[in-house]
Structure formats: structure tokens, C-alpha cells
């Protein structure tokens, strides 16, 4: 690399000062009032504040309303197939740890068709930031019950109401060995949504953020009880977690001191059905990342390959035997 003059350095720094527009691409086609818009705003703000280089940032998604997300980011994006965002993102991260990788997945994508990958992504604990856009319904396919739909949800496949208790993504995630970061946000408190997105980004390991979001089209009222009554939202507050502004605390008085290193407590809080806990439920920065455990410390050069391949071929060479190394 050539040495740069101080002026050049300064110029480059100015150039690298990104604006929100640098991350915007196209006009989101989500419905008015869709929670995805709030998530997009928070994430674009994060990219700008953190100065993420657009070419070094990848958003990977599956299929569903949420999974259109990458199209609206002016970064690299991978809009793949239903349920498989996580394994695709894992492949990207394993091959290219220098890239910042985000995953956008919905409640159908993550908790239903891709549920196996979800459990295992938690286990791998790769350095990914995962947003579960949970609107409790299949939106793109026009209103079918999802695993997180509250029991009794009327949908096109459950016209007399859904039959099963909703799956709780927080308790499921917290039940997986190797879990290292679990948070919950809601789309109607953008300030806290941003703080959580930011904390998730800064966590090294897989940060799993469940974002409760409204679906104005198919389930317009499902989150009303919590939206209309700030006391039913419980902000998790701790010096090792998030701390909230005075203004916010005036509205959201129901706050709980919760140390995110306390797994047992995290599981209890996650299990709450009446209150919606918002904040960081669990964080353990010491869980090893799969890519750090698995990536070879050697560069795949022709020279190394030649040596390695020949060492292997020696083992199988039957003739001439001179080249054979005996294990004696």
C-alpha cells in the first residue's frame, strides 16, 4: 500500500462519511404502517452511524414480506429461498469473515419452514445479526396463521381461529445451547428499536433480535393491547444492557432491572405472556464463534496446496515405493 499524505487521508475520511442516502435503494413496497419500514429506518441509521462500507455489508434474507429488505439497502444483498436465509448467511460469513452480515427473516421463514436452521444457527453462533421480523402472520401469501400467531387467530387457513398456542421465539432461542444474544424490540418504539439493533450489531456472535411488528393489512389489531397501554410494555434496563432516556421513561414506566448475563432470569422474562419485555434479555460475549473455531489459519495458496496434496499422494503411492513414507 502506498503511503497517503495527511490531506489525502482527510479527504478519504470525508468521502467515507456516509449519509442515510448511501444505504437507500428503491422505494419500499411494504404497506403503509407496516413494521418493516421502522426496521429499515433503524438499520439504515445504524449503517450510517457505524460507517459501514456498503460494499462490505451483506443483507441476507429468505422469502416473505420481511425478506424484501435487502432490495431496499444499497449494500450487497441476497434474497434467497424460503427458510434458508440463515445457512446462506453462514456460508457467506464462513467464506468472508471480513464482511458484515445481517439476516432478515420472518416468523414463517424462521420459525416454520426454516426452524431447523434457526436452532442450528444459534448453536453455530456465527457473528451475524439476525432480525426476526415477527408480525405473527403470513403476509406475502395473504393471511395464513404462522407459528407465532396467537391462538384463535382467524386466517384463511384457520377461518374458525388457529388451534395451537403460539410458539415463543424468545424462549425457544434461549433454550438452545450456545445462545449468546437475545433481544426483543417493538416497531412502535423506534428509539429503543434502534438501541437494540445497535447493541445486536456490536455483539460478537449471533445476535437474535425478535421485533414485534404490526401487519396493518392482515392483523391490524393484534398488537393493540400493548401499543395502547405502555404499562404492558416492560423495558429491560440495566447498566450492562440498555438504559433509557428520561423522556422515554416518562411514557414507559414499567421498567425492570435485568442483568442480561442472567440466563435463568432471561428465560423467566421471556416466558411472560401478559407483558411484552423489550430490551436485551441475554448476552454472553464469551461464547465462541463457529467461524473462529473452524476457519483454517492457513491461506489456500498454490504452494501450500502442492505440499499438502503431495503429502497425501505419498500415502497412496504404491509405485515407486521410494516416494512412500512409512509409518513405522
Amino acid at each position: 500500500m502506498n503511503m497517503m499524505s495527511a490531506t489525502e487521508c482527510l479527504l478519504q475520511m470525508c468521502e467515507e462519511n456516509f449519509e442515510l442516502e448511501d444505504y437507500q435503494s428503491g422505494v419500499p413496497r411494504w404497506c403503509t404502517g407496516c413494521g418493516d419500514n421502522a426496521i429499515l429506518a433503524a438499520v439504515q441509521r445504524l449503517c450510517r452511524d457505524e460507517g459501514l462500507r456498503p460494499e462490505k455489508t451483506v443483507f441476507v434474507s429468505g422469502i416473505g414480506c420481511s425478506s424484501r429488505f435487502p432490495h431496499y439497502m444499497n449494500t450487497y444483498g441476497f434474497h434467497g429461498i424460503h427458510g434458508r436465509a440463515l445457512p446462506v448467511a453462514e456460508g457467506v460469513k464462513m467464506a468472508r469473515p471480513d464482511l458484515t452480515v445481517f439476516v432478515n427473516t420472518g416468523d414463517g421463514d424462521c420459525c416454520s419452514i426454516g426452524a431447523a436452521h434457526w436452532i442450528h444457527a444459534i448453536r453455530y453462533n456465527m457473528n451475524l445479526t439476525v432480525f426476526l421480523h415477527d408480525n405473527q402472520i403470513y403476509g406475502l401469501t395473504k393471511k395464513q396463521a404462522s407459528p407465532t400467531s396467537p391462538i384463535g387467530t382467524k386466517s384463511n387457513t384457520t377461518p374458525r381461529g388457529s388451534y395451537l398456542e403460539a410458539l415463543n421465539p424468545l424462549t425457544v432461542t434461549l433454550g438452545v445451547q450456545n445462545v449468546s444474544f437475545v433481544a426483543q424490540a417493538v416497531d412502535w418504539i423506534p428509539e429503543v428499536l434502534f438501541d437494540i439493533v445497535k447493541a445486536a450489531y456490536h455483539h460478537k456472535g449471533l445476535s437474535f433480535v425478535r421485533i414485534l411488528q404490526r401487519c396493518p393489512e392482515w392483523l391490524p389489531k393484534s398488537l393493540d393491547p400493548w401499543m395502547n397501554d405502555p404499562n404492558k410494555v416492560q423495558l429491560l434496563n440495566h447498566e450492562n444492557g440498555l438504559q433509557f432516556s428520561a423522556g422515554l421513561s416518562k411514557v414507559y414506566k414499567n421498567q425492570l432491572q435485568h442483568d442480561p448475563s442472567n440466563m435463568d432470569r432471561a428465560r423467566e422474562i421471556a416466558s411472560s405472556t401478559d407483558l411484552v419485555p423489550v430490551g436485551i434479555l441475554y448476552r454472553n460475549p464469551s461464547v465462541p464463534c463457529y467461524e473462529d473455531l473452524r476457519r483454517s489459519d492457513k491461506l489456500r495458496t498454490a504452494e501450500l496446496t502442492s505440499v499438502g496434496l503431495n503429502a497425501e499422494l505419498d500415502k497412496y503411492t504404491v509405485w515407486p515405493q521410494e516416494t512412500k513414507e512409512k509409518v513405522a
Binding site: 450487497y76 441476497f78 496434496l309
Partner: protein
Amino acid sequence: MNDMTMQTPVKKPGNKPRSPAGKKPAVKLKEHIVEIISDSGEGAQKCGQSLGAIAAQMGNGIWTTEIIPAEIRPPARSVAGASGNRIRIGSGYITNGGDETDLVVAFNEQVLLGRVRAKELKPNCIILLESMWRTHTDPKIVASYIETYDRVVAAGYKVYEIPMEHECRTIVADARRGKNMYALGMLCYIYSLDLKLAVDQILIAFGKKDKSVVDANIKLLEAGHKWAEANLDFCYSIPATRSTEPQIVVNGNTALALGVLASGMEICAMYPITPATSASHYLSEVFEKVGGMVHQAEDEIAACAFAIGASYASKCTITITSGPGFSLKQEAIGLAVMGEIPLVVVNVMRGGPSTGQPTKMEQGDLMTAIFGSHGDAPKVVMAPGTIEECFYSIITARKIAETFNMVVVILSDAALATSQQPFARPKFSDTWMAPPVDQSPIPAGARPYEWDDTTGLARRFIPGQPGGMHTLTGLAHDRDSHVAYDPETNEESLRARSLKLAALQKTLKAPPVFGDPTGDLLVIGWGSTKGAIEEAVELTRAEGHKVSSMHLQFLQPLPPGIKEIMQGFKKVMTIESNWSDRPEDKIIDESNRRYSSVAILLRSRYLVDIDCWSDCKGQPIKPGSIRRVMMEKLKKQ
């Protein structure tokens, strides 16, 4: 072999060796097929592999085939439980497992019975049978042994009862751990193989263990040799010419894994599945030494998606699987086709459909490979025909995948996976390696799918390249990778992805014809049947018939020149190991007969009336069967 005199079997274990038979001059053979079979876990596999390695070191041509029961631990002494190895040893180069077996070493009469019932033994096959069962404490076992023994003797097999257990017990306490080396010693005597080479095999196998283990095994080996020399009335030699070039002996799965090492690929994502997994086992052992890694994913779909993610962001990646896994990967393969992401998928085919026959060979997945995944999903399909081609096909596949931004499917099968054959030691070349990941800035105005009007090719944008930001999508998209549903764009992209196959086809050469370029019958095959077909052609030609064969390495696209080659023959037929309706079946006629896979492809492409013969017995098709089929085809009007 025919002039050998029948010897009274040694009936009772513990008999003192009869007066040494005296070293008779070895009968020279051109080739022999030997089997060592036992219950699972008694080491017959190891014995067979060692025998193959020793013969290969002597300079013999060999082809080893594993005999694998479907269960990990089938019940002891069961007909279905035969586990072992089959080694065809020849003076010259051996290209396949050959026909029936000439000599068997069986550790019990039940596994032997399994092989007899499977009609795997030649009529006058020599059987060396463990005799311990004759004096077993369980009268049922004794009765079963005597019954089987009498039956195989009556059937005309030449049976020698060998007190292996008894002899081994004089050296080790547990003969289960060592009888195989005793058998190896006997076989070294029978085939006049250098015992020193066998000692080397023991050092390789047990060198890491206690010295006492090595010493015990060497003692067993020598004892077996000595016993055979003193008691057997026959011995052979299969003269060998050593190759001047260095040779390696590996099985097809190891060759695939070595190919991955040599190709410069960095990641293999897989999920355990028989019979593909041993390639990943080996790769797991060695890949990290050269800067690679094997990822065992949570399922087949995840393995494919992981490989696609890695390929998208970096170098071409590989996923290795077998039939059921290949089915599961189809949607993800379609994504790679749509996104034009290079990817190598290996399918080590087994019997299907469904779980089918996990340990048995079949060539049943060709149509899935070509037409799999919904919609028009053009991909390249290759099939190695030899162990050596397993190695080189990976290097070629990686290059094609990255040059054309395509999915390349490699179809191996259970027969290639587990067979061993010597081939010239590969000489590494830098050109095998993938180039470094392009991170140069994308020029202003360039688009992520700038499809060339003639070839359909477009430059791939890789994350990290400044100015190349776009969202790859599995949805229909335009040159900017923007979701597009308009009719023109949809057809434009379908056309581009299809043209890439034609562009590749233009670079391929016509497949070589084995035999004369014209004649009465051309047999077309693909994949692991190559050696057997060519051997059958050679035999039939030696008898004066005008037959030739052609083996297809590329199934999609089909290389140019095939029609012209077929025109040189009066009749053309395919021989392969996937189902085709039998014309002799009552309700089968020309209007409903389902042809075998490659026959369907060739008939539809070239509008030529190509017949087919296929066999789905779960085993490699034998040259003898192919010869018979060719003769029938020649005779038919």
C-alpha cells in the same frame, strides 16, 4: 486351474499339518478374482484392501470392490451379513471388477452361503473356509456348517477347510482381531506375493499402535503364509509389469476428496449420507492443512445453502451428497442457477427411489441431475467413468462452474465410491487452483447481469467489490438484478442462462470411440460402467464382431459429434444401471416402454432409434453380462 487335483479337505482343526505338500511350481494366471468375506468387524475389508495394495505394489493391475452389508452390525453368521472385499488382480491394467469370483476366503459358512446365493462365485470357485464351526459347542451351528459344507462341495466348488481360528489362537488370545492378517498371509502365499510388502501394510495400518500389536499381526501373517505353504496343493502367480510412472491406489471417494484439495476450493458443506460420506471423512482429515474446511450442516438443504452462500461471497464451493440428499437440495440448486452462482454438487448415486439401497450402486439420478429443480434450470452434468476421472472431474467442474457461473453436478456412484484402482500419480499444477477472489472496483455503469448476447455470460459481482452493490435474488430479475416480471425480461434471462450451456458445448470435443469408428453395433454408456463396457467390447471384438463403445463424460450439455459417430454404426444401444421396461413384459410395447435415462436423452436429441439395456441389481454390471447383451443385439434383426 482346471488341471488342479482335488485335495482331501483338512477336516478337523488342530490336525497336525500334513506332510508339506512340497512347493509346487506356481501356475501362471492372467488374472484372478479373490474375495475375503466375514461378519462385520472381523477385518475382511482390511485384509482385502491390503491384498489389493500389495498386488498393486507388485505392479499388478487391480480393482477392489467392497462387499458391504446394509447394516452396521448385522447379526453374526448371517447370510445377509457378508462384509469384505473383492479384488480382481491381473497382469495388465484392470478397468472394472470383472465377472464372478475365482477364490473365496470365508470366515463362516453363512456369509459364504450369501455369496453363493447371490451367484457371485464361478462354478469351480476355490473356497477356503474357516473350519472352527465344525467343532463348535452349539450343535445347531455344527449342523448348519456341515449342511452348507456338504452342499457347496456337492455343487462342485473346491472347498478347503482351514483351521484359522485354531492356528491364530496359538498366537493371539482373540482371533477376531487378527484372523484377517492370517488370511492375508495365506493369500500372499497363494498368489506368490512378496511377504515384505504385506509387513509394510501392517506397519501402515498398525504403526501408530503398540509395538506388540504390530508384532502379533506380523506373526499371524507369517503363520498364515507358512500354513498355506505346508498344506495347500496349489499356488499361483500373476506376472506383473510395473508401470514406469508413479502410481497411486485410492477409491473413488478419496479421489473426489483429493480433487477438492487440488482444485483450490476452500469449503465443502455436507450432511452425512451413504455412500458419499467417506469423501467428506477424508476431506475433514486433510482439508484444513491446505487452508480449507468441511462444514457438516444440520441438513442437506442447509449444506447446499451454506455452499451457495460461500460461493456467492467467495470462491466456488462444493457440496457432496447422495440421492435423497440430492433431492432435498433441488430448490437450492435452482437458486444457484437463477442467481448464477458457481457451485459444484457431487451426487454419489445409490439405489433409489426414496431410501432405496443406500450401499448399492445405481445410475438412477441422471434425469434428476439434468432436469431437477422446478422451472428451466440449466446446469452442467458430468460423470466420471474411472477412479482417476473422479479426481480430475472435480478440477474441471470447479473451472466450468466459475467460468460460466453455473451449477456443475458430478454423478459418481456407490461402485466408484468404494472401488480402488491404481492410476498415474497426479502432478499438481497451479492452473488447477481457483484464482483469488476478485475485489477490484466495478466500473461505473456496469450491471450485475450484463448477459452477453451470444454466450449468455455475465461478469459475477462479488461482495466486497466497490460499486458492485446489488441484491441477488431468486426472483425473476433484470440486468440490474432488480425484480422484474415483465415478459421480455423473463425471456431474456431464461435465454441467457440457457445459452451458457450452448457456449460450454462449443468448447467440448466429441467423445472418443473405443474400437473402430464404424461397425455393426455401438454401445453408449456413462459413469462407472466404463471399464466393464470396454472390456466386453474388447472381448467381443476379439471374437471377430464389429462392436465399439462410446462413453459420455458430459451428459449436459452433450458434446458435439455424437450423431456423426452413431451414423457409423448399424445399431446403437445404451447400457446403464437405471430402470428400463423389459420389452418381453406382456403389456410393454413401443408406445409405453420407458427407456433408460441416457437412451431417452439421445433418442430425443438425435431422433435416432436407440435401444437400451439396463440392469438395476445394485451391483456393477459385469463385462460378461454386457458381452451377452451385445451378442443378442447383434443377432436381432
